[in-house]
Structure formats: C-alpha cells, structure tokens
C-alpha cells in the first residue's frame, strides 16, 4: 500500500496531462453532438492529422535533429499549424460528408462519418506510410529544464506545456461560449436549431464554426501528444477518438464543461489504473467505463437527464 501512496502524486500529474489531452478531444465530439446530434466518427482522424501537421512543422524547421529557429517559435508554430490544418479539415469534412445528409436518417450520417474516418486513415497511411514518425524534441528544450523533480514527483517541461496549453484553451473556450454573442448564438443553435433560425442566426455558419473550433482543439491535442510521447502514426486516431468520446460521455454528451471534466477524470482514472493493472489493460479499463456509463447513466456522470447542450 505504501508503494501505491508514494506513486499517487506522480500518477496525478500524469493523469492531469493525459486528462488535458482527452478533454481537448472530447470538446470536439461534444460540440458537434450538441449541435447536430451526431457522433463524428472522423474526429479521431482529425486529431491524428493534427499530430502529423505538428510533425511536419518540426521536420521542416529542423536540420539534423536541431531546430533552425528558436525552439519556442518552433513549438508555437507547430501548435498553430496543427490547429489550422485540423480546423480546415473539420470544415471540409462537414461540407462534403455531413452537410448533404442534414435531413437524412441518423444512421446514414453515422455511416458516412465511419467512411470519412476510414478514408482519412488510409489516406495518411498511403502518403505517410505505416511507420511511426518520431518527434525529435530533445533538442528543443535546454537540458536543465527538460525534466525536473519536486519531492519524489518527476515533472517534464512537455507535461507542463500540455497542461498549460490545454487549460488555457479550455478557459478561452468557456469565456467565448458563455460571454460572447457568438457563444450565445451557438448555445441557442444547440438547444433548438429551428428556433435559432427564426431568431436570425445563420445555423450553417454556426455549424461550420463548431466544426472549426472542435477540430482545431482536436488537432492541437494531436500535436501536444506528439510532443509529449514523441511519435505519431496513422492509427493513433482510432484509439484517441474512442477515448475522447468516452470522456465526452463521462461528462454528458453535448455539455462542453462536462467534456472538460470528463476528460480530466478519464485521464486520472487511466493513470491510476496503471498502478493496479498491467499497462496493456489500461485501454480495457477506459472502455469498460464507457460501457458502464452509457448503459447506466447515458446522460453522463454530472449531467442531468437532459444535459445543457453546448
């Protein structure tokens, strides 16, 4: 037991990092679900492509394994480009695969999303190959701050970066949704699309905006994970997407704030689970949680039976 207690603070830090990433992914699911009531299967792929975008920026700005411009600039560019690429990808997916099906049965929409997911995954497989791409991040960060220790908890620069960026973006999004006019329009559209139209809100634009923001957050999550675990391959989107969705469900699908909490919770649960189970079963734990929550509390842990959407 002592061993576990000693491990606890470290697992909390790890969990918080992972949780920040899951929360960013979950927001994309939950926003789209809130407004279109559809499960965007392709969101995991958007995350994966965000990761690749980050890798390409790093690759192009490096000679050998060293960056050609200042490291902070490289990292910022990686994050911004991954958001842009993912955001644009999200919008195009909406335009070509989902918009034609706006009035179709839900099952058709879901199958189309499945198609997009498979298509994007294999597109990347074709052009980037099956082998994982490595992020040579060691040269980006001076050795003295790369890893440091407080008490018996090991921190790394990247972990802190991930936590800071994730929480900053979530705070920004919260302000946007709660305080701005656009945020209000978005919430209105999520509650009742038709009524929102009658009140003069351009619903199509809101949907595009939701895909833009959600996908951008998914994309940056991909880049952050790349920096953190230093690799990306064409298949990471599938698992990450499922995790993100689990997080969204934990918090109550459609509820942005819930997605954030759900993500962090899932991250914590997973890291704690690795102290008790072999690491290979950590995914099994996440999926079992997903199944249990969906069956017994499909409206989420925190949400009410009818969750506040967006």
């Amino acid at each position: 037991m002592d061993f576990y207690l000693q491990q606890l603070p470290q697992q909390l830090v790890n969990g918080l990092t992972l949780g920040g990433v899951y929360a960013l992914i979950a927001i994309g699911y939950t926003m789209v679900y809130g407004i279109l009531s559809m499960l965007n299967f392709a969101h995991g792929e958007v995350y994966m492509i965000g990761g690749f975008a980050g890798w390409w920026v790093l690759h192009l700005l490096s000679r050998g394994n060293a960056p050609i411009i200042h490291a902070s600039l490289v990292i910022s560019l990686m994050l911004i480009v991954s958001m842009l690429v993912a955001g644009l990808l999200g919008i195009s997916v909406e335009r070509f695969a989902y918009r034609p099906l706006r009035r179709a049965p839900r099952m058709n929409l879901l199958l189309s999303a499945l198609g997009v997911s498979i298509f994007l995954q294999n597109l990347v497989l074709h052009y980037q190959g099956a082998k994982a791409r490595f992020f040579h991040v060691s040269s980006l960060i001076p050795e003295d701050i790369r890893v440091f220790q407080i008490g018996n908890v090991v921190f790394s620069f990247m972990r802190i970066l991930v936590i800071v960026v994730a929480f900053l973006l979530m705070a920004l999004l919260t302000v946007m949704v709660k305080k701005t006019k656009v945020g209000k329009a978005m919430r209105a559209t999520a509650q009742d699309t038709e009524a929102a139209t009658f009140m003069g809100i351009d619903v199509d634009r809101m949907i595009v905006l939701v895909f833009l923001i959600g996908s951008a957050l998914g994309g940056i999550a991909g880049a952050l994970v790349g920096l953190l675990f230093t690799q990306v391959d064409y298949y990471v989107g599938f698992q990450a997407g499922l995790k993100g969705f689990t997080a969204a469900v934990l918090g109550g699908v459609g509820n942005i704030f819930g997605a954030m909490i759900g993500g962090i919770l899932l991250g914590l649960i997973e890291s704690l689970a690795t102290t008790f189970f072999p690491a290979t079963y950590k995914d099994v734990v996440a999926f079992v949680i997903l199944i249990i929550v969906l069956i017994f509390r499909p409206w989420g842990l925190m949400g009410e039976k009818i969750p506040e959407k967006v």
């Binding site: 679900y33 559809m38 499960l39 070509f96 695969a97 034609p100 099906l101 179709a104 049965p105 839900r106 099952m107 058709n108 929409l109 879901l110 199958l111 189309s112 499945l114 198609g115 997009v116 997911s117 498979i118 298509f119 994007l120 995954q121 294999n122 597109l123 497989l125 074709h126 599938f238 499922l242 969705f245 689990t246 469900v249 072999p278 290979t280 079963y281 995914d283 099994v284 999926f287 079992v288 997903l290 199944i291 969906l294 069956i295 499909p298």
Partner: protein, 622 residues
C-alpha cells in the same frame, strides 16, 4: 422489394429449375478458376456473402448499428481453434464444433444485445465498438500469464475437417463447403424476411414505438436480431478458421468490419439480393486494386460517403424494372389517370342508407376499468386520480382542451408509460404496468394522433405487422417452413386483407403493395385504424381519427366509427376535437381538464356543463 420477383411469382417448377441452375453453377465455377489464388478469392466470396447476410440481419432488417459484429466472427474462429487443434490438445470433430461454436457465439450475441438494448443509434454503435475493442485487446494480451489466445501470433495448425472419414483439404472441396453454407444463409434470409420476424424487425426499424404499440415484442425481437447475426457470424468464423488453418487477432479487426458494412450498404440495408451482390462485388473488385495498397481501404471509405449521400438505399434498392407489378398510385389497371373524386366518392356513403339495423348495442358488463389513475411527470400532474369505466361495445369520447391529459391517458392505457399510481383492469384482469405489446395481446390497440405508420412498408405489410402478437412461429418453424408457420402466414394475410377492405377500395387492390408514405393523408388515417384493427383488438383507442380530414372525409370516418361498433361489435374509446363527430358517435362523453375529469355523461349534458364551457372558453369575469 425483392419479394416481388424472386419467390412469390415463382411456381414450384420454376423453383426447382432455379435451384438446379444455382447448383450447377456452384459445381462448375471452382473448376473454371485460373489458379489457386482466384479459387481462394472465390471461396472467400462465399464466406463474405455469409458474413454480409449475417450483418444484414442486425443492421439491415432490425436497423441496429452493431459495430461488435466482427468480434462474433472472431469468437467463432477462436472457438474452433480452441476445440480443434493442438493448442489445448482438444480435438473435437468439425461436425460437432461448427454448431457448437455457432451456438456459443449466438449466446455472446444475446448477451451483448441484453446489455446494450436500451441504447439507440450512436450510443449503441459506440458501446458495441468498445466491446469489439475489448475483444481485440483480450485476443492480443491473453497470452500471458497463461497462454489462452496465442497473442499476436494467434493459433495455427488446426485440425483438418473430417466429414465421416473424408478429410477435406482440397481447395475445391472447401469452396463447395463454404458456398453450401452461403446458399443456406441466403435461403434462410429470404424465408425470415418474409415472416412475422422480418416484418417485426422492419417495423422496429421504421418506428420502434409504433411497432411495440402494434404488438411487436421489440425487446425480444432486437435480441433475436443480435443473436441471429451472431449465429451466422460464429458459423462463418469457424469455417474461416478452418479454411485459413489459423486465426490471428488481425483477421477480426476494425477494417474487416468496415469491409462487411460496405458490402451490406452497397447492396442496400435489408435487401437480400443486393447484399449478396454487394458482397460479391466487393470481394472481387478490390483484387484489381491490390497493387495500390491503401487505395483499397480508401475506396471503402469513399464508397460509404458517396453511397450515403447519393444512394443510401443501395445499388439494388428500388430499381424500376426489378420491382415489377408496382403501378402508379394515381392510375388504374389500364393506365388511365384516376380523378380524385373517384377516390373519394366511388364507394359512396352507404352506411346510413337503407335503414339497416345495428347488430350490436352497448352492453352492461364493464370491459375497461381505470381506478384512481395518476400520472405525475416530475411534479406535473398530467392525469390526476382519474377513474372511469367503459362498457362492452360502448363508444366513449374523451374531450378537453389542449394539454388536458387525453393523449397521456391513451399512453397509460396502452402501456407506453406505467401510471404513477392506480390500476387499470381489462376484462377484469389487471393490466397495469404491462408493456405495450402485452396490452395489445390482451386485446387493446390504439392509433396515433400524429400518424405513426411504418412509412416505407407496404400497406398490406403495415396491417400484417399487427398479427405479430397473434402468431407464435419461432425461427425454426420459419426457416423450415413448417405447417404451423404456413398456416399462420395464411391467417395473417387473411386478417390483414379483411381489415383493409373495410375501407372499400381505398386500401385494397394495387394499394396493397404501395408504400404507406405514398398514401393520401386521409388514407393514412384510415390505414392507422385498419392496422390497429388487424391486431384482433376488442377495444380500439382512436386518437383524433378525423384530425386534418376535410368535411366529406370527416362525415365518412364518423359513420365508419359508428359502424365499427354497430356492425362489428368493437368497443371504442375516442379522443376527438370535432364536436359534430363526438355528438354523432358517442354513447357517453368524458371531459378532462388538467388531468381531472370535470364532466361525464351523454353528449348534451357534457356540452352544456358549466365547467366544460369554462375549460374551453375561460371563466366569465364577475
């Protein structure tokens, strides 16, 4: 759709010829294959036909988006590997393992169905996907601490199939074996689709609540869909494991599932011939893309996207020349346009002419009794302490302003919600808390205010669904076409046609085969009633039967309702806003307001009741 041209019109003789032709083709084709590579593809095609048809049961017939389907395929494969190899040193004969693994897999399907039954659409998809992922992770990781699944390396060197001493090893024999089962599955699919099961599933896919309210045991039927799909997947898995002589986790992964989904969707969900064609196309065509690697899977993704946008019904759905016998609804047999007055007045209004005497009158015995029924929606009392008695063959109208709790009352009686308190008795037995399909079985059926027909099913099938609770044939009697099933099918058809013909020619003749969605509004209202009557109900609950009808149609439906009692002896509970209708048909009227009964009696009493007038028009200021 395919029923029209495949089976009904084929005589026995034609059937024999068809079977012989198929048999010949299957016997010859393996020998025509240029090499073993193509022979293997041919055999795998048969396997994919099976797999796609199994998925078609769950996703196509019942409309359940089951993403764990590929796991059942895997379970079947691994069971064979466990029970028929050196892995655990168990060597059961194939003829025992095949049914055993199919049945065990079916058990898993049943279990998955039971856990995820409450979920719909996206949630069902994601839960089943999570199950599939757990299955794959277990396959990959259960080689330690004790080696169960063989991990990434899988299990190989399985026992060869031994059929009564004849060892099956040659690829040609394998192709015969697998295509033999594929043909069985095709045949079974056709039989099940044309049965009470097929109609029940289709009804669930169209409108689950309406299906339940017409007597379909939706919970059971969904479980049967999961189990049926798993059974076929399990058998396919076993055949596949034996054919490949090994099993690996990768054989049963997500891309495989996508391929099978593409086959089903390309063919059209629920369309058997389409799915077979889809499976054949997608097994063979991608071979030509083999050199292009990832393009193959990319093309599957594109197929899904493009099909969903342009042809969600699949390649074979509703192609004109294949669905023969389908006539333009607005033309008669000779192709001459019908005028709308023909449709309305041809039958005329013969009911109240000639002074015929009513056969039935109100009886004395109570048939339905509500005792102190309350329905509390989180503080809102939709129905409050309501008691009422309905006598045999009585027509009782319920009136009241919007939000008075009329439709809630119907929902309570028909079992859609259980009441918060109080009891409901039908023919002196307590039916409180029964599920809607059980209420139908007891003899009560309803119509819906907002029309909830099975829009994409034919008029005749809409009515046939209602016989679900009156028939008992199980999957075995359907698959083997036992006399019981045949008898029940004839009875079902007879009842459905009889009920539809009560509305003159409006729902009969060429209309039998017409989709419900193409009917006129008034005809859809009529079909709602005919469908409810086809459940052999004694008590009909009609929710605003004349809503949206024009004056002529209203007069007609009014006398029709009266005739239902006078002529056929139904007991009728009706919600109606048009007071002319209420006045003409009612033996008694009940007025509700805010869930409370404010007046009861014959029409004139209720209509002149002060409280009723206030409820409709408001109170006078003093």
């Amino acid at each position: 759709m395919e029923q029209g041209f495949i089976s009904k019109e084929l005589s026995k003789k034609h059937k024999v010829i068809l079977y012989a032709a198929i048999g010949m083709i299957l016997a010859v084709v393996p020998h025509l294959m240029p090499n073993n590579y193509w022979l293997r593809i041919y055999t795998m095609t048969g396997l994919f036909v099976m797999l796609a048809l199994g998925l078609n049961v769950v996703a196509g017939f019942a409309g359940l988006l089951d993403l764990a389907y590929v796991a059942f395929f895997g379970i079947g494969g691994y069971i064979f590997a466990f029970l028929s190899s050196n892995h655990f040193d168990i060597h059961l004969p194939f003829l025992l393992v095949l049914p055993l693994s199919a049945l065990i897999t079916m058990g898993f399907g049943f279990a998955l169905g039971a856990t995820s039954l409450r979920l719909k659409g996206d949630y069902l998809a994601i839960v089943t996907l999570a199950f599939a992922q757990i299955f794959k992770l277990l396959l990959l990781n259960l080689d330690r601490p004790i080696n169960i699944t063989g991990g990434v390396n899988g299990i190989f060197d399985l026992d060869p199939i031994d059929l009564f001493g004849l060892k099956i090893v040659s690829p040609v024999i394998y192709s015969y074996l697998i295509w033999f089962f594929a043909i069985l599955v095709i045949l079974g699919s056709f039989r099940i689709k044309r049965s009470r099961f097929g109609r029940g599933w289709e009804a669930i896919r169209e409108d689950e609540l309406a299906a339940e309210a017409m007597g379909v045991n939706t919970t059971w039927m969904k479980l049967m869909a999961f189990a049926g799909g798993a059974l076929i997947a399990g058998a396919s898995g076993t055949l596949f494991a034996s054919f490949q002589d090994s099993v690996f986790p990768n054989n049963f992964d997500f891309p495989q599932l996508v391929v099978i989904y593409c086959m089903v969707i390309l063919g059209g969900l629920g369309n058997i011939l389409g799915v077979v064609l889809g499976a054949i196309l997608l097994s063979i065509l991608p071979e030509f893309l083999r050199e292009y690697g990832a393009y193959r899977m990319m093309s599957y993704g594109l197929i899904l996207i493009v099909l969903m946008a342009l042809r969600p019904q699949g390649i074979l759905g509703e192609i004109g020349f294949l669905t023969k016998g389908k006539r333009r609804p607005d033309k008669d047999e000779t192709g001459v346009l019908k005028t709308s007055t023909d449709l309305y007045y041809k039958e005329g209004d013969q009911v109240d002419r000639d002074g015929w005497k009513p056969k039935y009158k109100v009886g004395d015995r109570p048939i339905l009794e509500l005792r102190k029924i309350t329905m509390n929606f989180g503080g809102l009392m939709a129905v409050n302490d309501l008691s009422l008695t309905l006598h045999e063959r009585e027509i009782l109208s319920i009136i009241g302003p919007n939000g008075a709790g009329k439709t809630t009352l119907f929902n309570l009686i028909s079992g859609i919600y259980p009441p918060s308190s109080g009891n409901i008795f039908f023919k002196s037995s307590d039916i409180t808390g029964l599920k809607p399909h059980q209420v139908v079985e007891a003899g009560i059926c309803r119509t819906f205010q907002n029309l909830r027909l099975f829009n994409n099913m034919s008029v005749l099938d809409n009515a046939k669904v209602s016989q679900f609770s009156r028939t008992r044939s199980g999957p075995l009697s359907i698959l083997f076409q036992l006399p019981r099933h045949k008898k029940e099918e004839m009875e079902t058809e007879k009842v459905a046609k009889e009920m539809l013909s009560l509305f003159g020619t409006r729902l009969t003749g060429y209309r039998f085969g017409q989709k419900a969605i193409f009917l006129s509004y008034a005809n859809r209202r009529r079909l709602e009633i005919a469908r409810a009557m086809s459940t052999n109900a004694k008590l009909l609950m009609l929710d605003e039967p004349s809503a949206g009808m024009n004056p002529q149609e209203t007069i007609e439906i009014t006398s029709f309702i009266k005739r239902l009692r006078d002529h056929y002896g139904y007991t009728i509970l009706v919600i109606e806003h048009k007071l002319n209708v209420v006045k003409t048909i009612s033996d008694r009227v009940i007025a509700l307001d805010y869930g409370v009964k404010i007046a009861e009696g014959i029409y004139d009493e209720v209509a002149n009741n002060r409280q009723v007038i206030e409820a409709y028009l408001g109170r006078k200021r003093n």
